[in-house]
Each structure stands twice: as C-alpha cells, then as structure tokens.
C-alpha cells in the first residue's frame, strides 16, 4: 500500500514545520471533503497529511470588532448559522447554506472552501489518462475546449483552460471585499481575496497565489451597512446539492433609494471568483428598477465569450444578476 502519514497539529507553526519537513508530497487537510474526493479520483496523491482542522483557535468566529473574522477552520455550517452573519450579511450566509449539503457543511471549513478545485468533468473524471487536461497534466491539452462545455466558464477563460472556479463562498467574499490572512514560513500576511486566485492563462495548474506551505488562518470582512442589503442568488441543475450554473452575489450601499455603491460578484461563469465592476459602474447613483438592473447585469457580461454549449450562461447569468440586484434592493429599509 502507498504509505500515507497523518499528523494532527495544534499550532500553525507546527503545521508549517511538519509540512516543510515532509516535502513535495505534503498536503494540509481540514474537512477533507475536497481533498479525499480528489485522492479517490487519482488527482491528488499526497503521502503526508497534516491535519489543521483542530489548530488552536482556528475555528473562531468573531463579529465584535470592525471586521467580521472567521478562522480558517471554522465550519461552513457554523458560519452560515451565526446570528450576525445570518441577519446582517445574508450574502455570506446564503452563499454557504446554498452550497453542498448539511452533512458536508458540518465537515467542511471556510478556509478549505477557498482552495477547493474545479468541477470540470474532464479534470475530475479522466485521471486514468482518458482525458487530456492542462490543469491535471500541464501541457497535455484541454479536453473541455471543443468538448461538452456546458458547465464551463464564459469569463476569464484562456486557450489552455476554461474551467469554472466552483466555490460559492469565495464569490460572496469577493463582493464583500474580504481579506485572507495567511501564515507562512516568514510570518503572517494579509491579501485581498481578489489576489488569491490566478486566472488560468497558460498555466492553469497554478490556481492560487499563496505559497504551498502557507496556511489560511482566517478570513475577514469589513463591516458595512451594505451587508443587510445583500443576497446570494444561485441557479443550478437541481434545487439543492449542486454547484452553480450561474450565481450572483450583490450587496448595495444605499442613499435613500439611490445606489451609492454596489458590490457585485459572479460565480459559476468564470475561471476565478469574478468581480462585476462594470455592473457596479452602471448602478452607481441610480435608483433601482428591473430595466436598470438588467442593463447593469448585461454590462457585467459584456466581455463574456461563449463556447459550444454554454452560451446560455451569458443570458441566464445576466438575468440572475438582475434578479439578485432587485432582491438586494428590496432588503433596503
């Protein structure tokens, strides 16, 4: 049998040391809901697992200061059900409660969620050599391009990869200008979530900007009144237990009935959690009606490029975003 070592550690420092000592084939593991899956599919083949789900304080949820703080190992379920998150930041709560299933959310962590890998079927299902995939086997080609690309991205794709960034939570965090706290060999640093993800360009196997040994110790979100006027709308192939075909995270800073600043992000349609700046620009200073919302939504998709079977995502994405804008607006009291 392939030897597989497993250690549980209590501090980030210990984890990093164990990781570095173990070398190339080390992986952190938190809830394991993505990593074990990828191991069974023959995509991830770690020889050393360093369990960081029980690091001291890593599941902390703190809503007292001027930022919301979620420890990297806080459970999706706990964050989704936290009263402050649920009542004052529905976009965050909904992005979590509409993801996976209750059983998975009871295991999965909000830190691990940021680093989950794509659901591109050619990536997941072809590790035995059936399908070429640049993400799995750099340079082997991309089976999704020219194939069944219904699930694939219409924004941010490259000639090497059009796989969708799968998570819902990162999309909500993107809209809310969240920051990610990292701890590495040289101490800690904080980056905006928008800097965590790499577009595929010519190196789709490089998905994240963080160092291999770096740990996501926390995620923080600036507190804002816009949190209340927010929503996460997700459209999928079934009503639950499915990844997004398209999703929209919207939070609105309002001035009476006018939008001072909209925060818009898109999921299911792009290779990275996608900020919808053009939509934000259209909404700035405007009152909300369906026509305006749709105009803004279409602006967010102005640069979208369809493949063979995913053109519907452009129209569906725009309509979903428009619905989300109206929803968020209707939460403004």
């Amino acid at each position: 049998m392939k030897p597989l070592s497993y250690v549980q550690v209590r501090t980030a420092r210990e984890a990093i040391e164990a990781f570095v000592a173990a070398g190339e084939s080390a992986r952190y593991i938190a809830g394991g809901t993505n990593l074990y899956d990828l191991m069974k599919l023959g995509i991830e083949k770690p020889a050393h697992l360093i369990d960081i789900a029980d690091l001291d304080g890593a599941n902390r949820i703190d809503t007292d200061g001027d930022r919301l703080f979620f420890g990297g190992a806080a459970l999706m379920a706990d964050v989704a059900e936290h009263p402050v998150v649920r009542d004052d930041y529905p976009v965050l709560a909904e992005s979590l409660s509409k993801a996976a299933s209750q059983q998975l959310r009871n295991m999965a962590t909000v830190g691990g969620n940021l680093l989950q890998r794509t659901r591109c079927p050619y990536f997941r299902n072809g590790a035995d050599g059936t399908y070429p995939c640049n993400k799995r086997e750099p340079g082997s080609g991309c089976a999704a391009i020219g194939g069944i690309d219904r699930s694939q991205a219409v924004l941010g794709a490259s000639a090497a990869c059009n796989a969708v960034s799968p998570g819902d939570w990162p999309v909500a965090l993107m809209a809310m200008d969240a920051a990610v706290e990292l701890q590495g060999l040289d101490g800690t640093r904080v980056i905006p979530i928008s800097e965590l993800y790499r577009p595929p360009s010519r190196t789709p196997h490089l998905e994240f900007t963080i160092g291999r040994e770096e740990i996501v110790t926390g995620i923080s979100v600036p507190k804002t009144a816009a949190g209340r006027n927010s929503t996460y709308l997700k459209v999928r192939d079934r009503e639950s237990y499915a990844f997004a075909l398209v999703s929209a995270a919207v939070a609105l800073e309002m001035d009476g009935d006018r939008v001072r600043q909209a925060h818009v992000a898109l999921g299911g349609v792009a290779t990275v959690p996608w900020r919808g700046r053009p939509a934000e620009a259209v909404l700035r200073g405007e009152t909300l009606d369906r026509g305006r919302a749709l105009e803004a939504a279409r602006a967010a998709f102005a640069e979208a490029r369809a493949g063979r079977h995913n053109a519907f995502k452009i129209e569906l994405g725009a309509r979903t975003l428009a619905d989300a804008i109206i929803n968020a607006g209707s939460r403004n009291q």
Partner: protein, 726 residues
C-alpha cells in the same frame, strides 16, 4: 380468512434494513476474502498491444493480476443471455485483446485488501492500438439496421392520416439514462460446501448462475446464485454483469473467496443503461377529437454486438381507440456497452413521445387533453380486437382530475400566475404497462410451533416482495408475521425466475396464495374437519405432526407445464400482455403542476397526482411508495437526467451522482397517490396486475405538458433544462 387484503403494513424487512442488519451481497463475511479491482479501458475501441503488470505485482498485498491471457477460455454461450432471452452477451471483456467500448475491464487485480487492489489497478499500464469508432447514433460510422419484423399495424394509417382534418407530425428525442441504484453492482464468489456460490444483488439468481456456469464450462448445478437483497435494480441487475464471470473465474483459479464492488464511476461504462432514442409521432383526428390514425416510428441506439431490441411500439396503440395504426422500429449500432432494460424500458420513452404528441393534438383541436383522452377510451385492443382483462383508465383520469383540481386548466399558456409571479402550468398524461406473470415452484412448510417457511421464486429489490408474500400468507393462514421465513432469490431453495417487468407481485402473490390454500386443504384433510378460527399451527399441533409441508407449481395463464421445466433450467418464461382471451395491462393517469420562474425559466414540480389501476393493491404502503418512486423517476427524466457523450472520446462523461443529475428532495413536490383497487381475477388468483413499472409511465410526459401549459413552449427532448426555457 380475513378480507383485510390491502392492509397498510410496514415492510417485513424494514427493521432489519434500518438497523443495517440486512446483509446485501457485498456484506457477506468470508474468512480469507480477497478483494478485486478492475482496470478500465481508456479507449473507445481498439486492440490491446501489451499490458504491463510488473508494477502492480510489486504492490504489497497484490496476489494476482489477471488479463485476457488468463480468461480466453471463458465462453459466451446462450445461457449467458441477458434478460428476456434476448440474444446476447456477444462480447465478454478480458477474453481477447480487444476493446469494444470505453471503460470495459482490461485487467483484474486481486489483493489481500481493497486498498492494495485499487493501488495495483492504478499501477497497471496498458498500450492500445486505437480504432475509429462512433459513440452516438447520429455519427457517420454508426450502423443503422433495417426495420425489424412484426411491427404492430391495423387499418390503413397512412390514408387516414392523409385525409384527416387535424394532424400533428412531431419528433421527440430521449437521452441516454443510467439507472444508478444506490447499491453498487458487486460480485462475491466463494466456495461453500464444495460448490461455488456467487453472491450478487441480481434480479435473476438462476439465469445468472446458469449463465455463469455456461460461460465457465461448468454444469449449471455446480454453481449457486444467491441474491440476498437487491439495493435497487431497476433492470440494471437483470443479467450477467461484465465483471461477474471474471470474479467467479478468479475465485476458481485462486481457490479463495473474491469480492469486487464496482465503483460508481466505472458502472457508467460497464453496466447497462437506457439507450438514446428518437420518436416520430403522427396523429390524426376528426373534428370531434376521435383518433383516426397513429403512425409511430422510432430509432434506438444499441451496441455493436448484442441484440437489445426496441419495443417502443408495444403500448401506444393500446392506449386509445385508434381507427388505424402503423408502428415502425429500428436500431442503430454504436460502439458502447450494450444498453438494457431500465424501469419502464420502452414504455417510458414511448409515453413521453406519444402522450406529449397527444397534448399537441389537443392543442390543435382546441380540446381539453383530459376530454380528448376520455373521448378515445376503449375496452378493446385496436390491434388484435381482443378485450382488456380490466381497464379503468377512464376512472383514473376522472378521479385524478377531481383530486388535482383540473378545472383550473385553461388552454391559454401562462394564464395561471402564482403569487410570486411564477407561471403555473398543468399537465396530464397516461401510461400503461403489460400485466405479466412467471411460473414458480413453491414450498411452504408450517410447523406446529407456528413457524412458517416459504421458498419460492422472486428477488427482493426494495419493492417489498417479501411483504407481498407475507400478506398472502397472513391473509390465508393468519400466521404470525414474526414467525415467517421467506426464502427468495436463492437457487439453493427454489428455482428462480428473473424478477423484472412488474411481474414480481403478480407471480409471487398467486404462488404464495396457492400454496397457502393447498396447505389449508391438506390440514383440513389431516384433521378430518373444516378448519376452525383457531391459529392453523394449533390445529396442526393437535394432529401430533411436527410440521406440514406442501409444494405447488404455479403455471401462469396461457402456459402449460413446460413452463416449470423452463423455469428449472433458468430460462425466462413470461406472459403478457396478450393472453388467449384478452390483453392485460396496468394503467395510470398522472397530473402535474409546475411553476416556472419567469426570469430564469427554472421549473419546479409543485404537485403530482397519480391514480393507478394495478388490479388488487397488496399493501397500500409499499404500493404508494412504488408510485412515488416512479413519479420521482419521471421528474428526473423530465428535468434532470442525461448521460453526456463526448463523441471524440466515446462513453459518457458522467462519473458520479453529482454530474449524473438525479432529483433531490428539494426537486420533488407533493405526490398524491390513489388506486382504483379492483382485483383482476381473470388474470390470477390474487387479482394482481403489477405496479412498479407503470408508476413511471407517463409521469415525465405530464410534466412536459405542464411546462408547455406554463410557458407555451414545446420542448421535444429530455431533459428540459434551464437553457431550453430562457
């Protein structure tokens, strides 16, 4: 005898199952059990040039790696035919260096642990010479075949169509679907008492064991097939699986028990599936909505090497009193594994096409689709002219319409709007399924202590067959359910017929009933008096006999004693729908209410009302559950499920239950079920017609028709996905 016939009883094995005590095929404990894993072919067609097993053999724990070199003596014999005696098993993987479809096993790694077997399988490297192929019906290299003989026809349908005032001429398409029962397909082979026993959650223990024996060149008796429970079969477990003979041969060669549980991802390529099909439907009616003609032409996908035929044409002409009819079926061969029977195998796709076309005709006529169906009700089969044994389809429609609130229906699409702005659509469709029966050899033993043991033919796949058998024994003998021992699915206890095609209850219930009646008769002869109301075992005890055993052969209507011989030889013997004096079908009407979100086109099935005529209802609880399950399958077919084929690679892209989208609870609205519950005693002693299959027939069509009623859009393919309604 108590008349409490369709009691609402919990399943007799519910407790065992809930506690996890029911041992399924893969749960059987054997000392020294070895674990196997297959290596799937990564090409769609070609030859194996070489297989390198060296690395796999280095994996600690790996005992042996089998390849086609080890199994070239395995034969494909008639005994290995698939269900229904279809000619088949034209190809058994790993008997030659040939790959005929993607994902077929090319090597089998056997190891002391599952982990070692998996790792060993990953370490095997295979070199191939690829050949060109076609995996889809519409590809250039696909092989169309001429129309099969024996198509159903009556009158001059073409002429009637040409002269009719109102017609529709439409094509409906059905995708490839995969059964995905929750119990994975597995095979465990072990020597017990000198014979090789094969544990598999099969729907056909005898044909399966006999088929395996034939393939391995053994006497049929040398092999015992045991199917303790089947965790959902739906037709996918009705034949010899691609891995069955490989595991049995491995156990034989290694003289140790071997188990293989096929991973779900591989089952998309090794197990059967519902083939793709196209359906052109032409219907003609006069101004009063009387159906003058139906012309129904279908094309169905098949593999290159097996004879899985098409049978779409059997039911539609029996649904209504068509003036004239012509059917036509063809198959197209492609490079995939052989498709097979999947719940309502042809009846469901056929009902999708014809019941939606009928809805289109109602539209063309400006008629209420319920009224159109009622206007064409018939008590005679338009093809043979024979009557139906029983047909309460009009009552199903009327009762369903009343319960559903069909009076809300209007022919203006989108006229009904929900409080949240969703457009409400109402749809109706009907279905039928042949009432079939099979022979059985039944032994029933009553002990003076009250124990009652029955051995008969049948497989428990979750449909509640044990409960049905129990119901008859309780009904006739008043025995204590807690003292029942029901032995089915095991060729060691009684000859086993394939359980499928909704003939399970219609065969097992009359068999159990006949045995119970015979036991009463013999007991009364023993006691020399008419039996009293006292428990039967008490009356038996008084005769000072430890037990009384009877044996009964049940020969289904229209067959003779030969059927029993065929059964003993593991051959399929089924009846229906045509019997000497009548045709027999179960019938159903489904009513569906969908809500469509205007901005996104999301469809939600809010409510379905289904009323079935399945003869006598044996057990209200399991019967309702069957229908609910059938409706959920209808929802899946209408809105969710499809095998996705990338023609460049062959096979399907789906690999798990995330990307083969089956409905989840949130997709399933209220399902209300009712039954006509009129025993059909012309058919059998128990008055049972069968329910598991008919439950699904028409369910998808009702939903599709409701989607049209909500949106005005006719989507003529399944599944209807969000992009279809944008």
């Amino acid at each position: 005898m108590t008349p409490n016939r369709n009691a609402d009883r919990p399943r007799i094995d519910a407790h065992e199952k809930v506690l996890g005590r029911a041992l399924y095929a893969a749960d059987q404990p054997f000392p020294g059990l070895l674990h196997a894993m297959t290596v799937p072919a990564t090409i769609a067609k070609g030859r194996i040039l070489s297989i390198d097993t060296a690395a796999a053999l280095q994996v600690p724990g790996v005992v042996r790696v089998f390849t086609h070199d080890d199994f070239s003596q395995i034969r494909t014999t008639p005994a290995a035919r698939g269900a229904y005696g279809q000619p088949g098993k034209g190809h058994q993987p790993m008997t030659a260096p040939q790959v005929r479809h993607r994902g077929e096993p090319v090597a089998l790694v056997v190891a002391e642990t599952l982990e070692a077997a998996v790792e060993g399988a990953e370490a095997v490297t295979v070199r191939y010479a690829e050949e060109s192929f076609s995996a889809r019906m519409d590809d250039d290299l696909a092989g169309p075949e001429p129309e099969a003989a024996g198509q159903l026809a009556s009158g001059d349908a073409e002429a009637a169509f040409a002269n009719a005032a109102h017609i529709v001429d439409v094509e409906y398409r059905h995708p490839q679907q995969h059964h995905n029962p929750i119990e994975l397909i597995s095979t465990t082979a072990a020597f017990e008492d000198g014979t090789l026993r094969i544990y598999e959650g099969t729907q056909s223990a005898a044909a399966f064991a006999g088929g395996l024996a034939g393939m391995m060149g053994m006497e049929p008796q040398a092999l015992r097939g045991v199917s303790p429970y089947t965790g959902g079969g739906f037709g996918q477990k009705n034949g010899v699986q691609e891995q069955s003979v490989l595991v049995a041969s491995a156990a034989l060669l290694l003289r140790r028990p071997v188990k293989l549980v096929m991973p779900r991802g591989q089952l998309f390529h090794t197990a059967s599936y519902r083939p793709q099909s196209r359906h052109r439907v032409r219907l003609a009616a006069d101004g009063n909505g009387r159906l003058l003609a139906g012309i129904y032409e279908t094309v169905q996908q098949n593999s290159r090497y097996d004879g899985f035929g098409s049978d779409h044409g059997a039911n539609p002409p029996r649904m209504y009193g068509y003036g004239a009819w012509r059917g036509s079926e063809r198959i197209v061969r492609v490079d995939t594994q052989t498709p097979g029977h999947q719940r309502a195998p042809h009846e469901h796709p056929a009902s999708h096409a014809t019941e939606c076309a009928l809805d289109e005709l109602a539209g063309a006529l400006g008629m209420d689709p319920v009224a159109l169906r009622l206007a064409n009700d018939t008590q005679r089969d338009p093809i043979t002219g024979k009557p139906f044994s029983s047909r309460h389809l009009a009552d199903c429609l009327r009762r369903g319409a009343a319960r559903f609130g069909w009076e809300r229906w209007t022919n203006q699409p989108g006229a009904l709007v929900a409080g949240n702005g969703d457009r409400i659509g109402l749809g109706v469709a009907c279905g039928s399924y042949k009432a079939a029966m099979t022979p059985s050899v039944t032994t029933l033993r009553l002990s003076a202590g009250g124990q009652c043991r029955i051995a008969t033919s049948g497989h428990e796949m979750g449909q509640g067959l044990r409960t049905v058998i129990a119901a008859e024994l309780i009904d006739v003998l008043g025995v204590d359910p807690g003292k029942l021992d029901i032995r089915i699915g095991d060729t060691g206890h009684a000859p086993q017929h394939l359980t499928a095609g909704s003939w399970g209850a219609g065969s097992a219930a009359p068999a159990a009933r006949a045995a119970a009646l015979k036991l009463r008769e013999e007991l009364s002869q023993l006691t020399g008096a008419v039996l009293s109301d006292e428990p039967v075992h008490v009356q038996l005890a008084r005769t000072r006999r430890p037990y009384l055993e009877v044996s009964v052969d049940t020969v289904p209507l229209g067959k003779d004693r030969q059927a029993i011989e065929q059964l003993r030889r593991g051959m399929p013997v089924t009846t229906g729908p045509e019997y000497p004096d009548f045709l027999a079908f179960s019938w159903i009407a489904h009513f569906a209410e969908v809500h469509v979100e205007p901005s996104t086109g999301r469809v939600r099935v809010r409510r379905v009302v289904s009323v079935a005529d399945c003869g006598r209802v044996m057990n209200r609880r399991t019967a309702e559950s069957q229908v609910r399950g059938g409706v959920v399958w209808g929802i899946g077919a209408a809105l969710r499920e499809a095998g996705e084929c990338d023609p460049r690679f062959g096979g399907v892209l789906n690999n798990d239950l995330a990307d083969y989208v089956v409905p989840v609870n949130a997709d399933v609205g209220a399902i209300e079920v009712d039954f006509i519950d009129e025993p059909d005693t012309r058919l059998n002693l128990s008055g049972v017609k069968g329910l598991g299959e008919v439950a699904m027939v028409g369910a998808a069509a009702a939903i599709v028709n409701a989607v049209h009623n909500a949106t005005g859009r006719r989507i003529r393919h399944l599944p209807i996905r969000i992009e279809d309604l944008l």
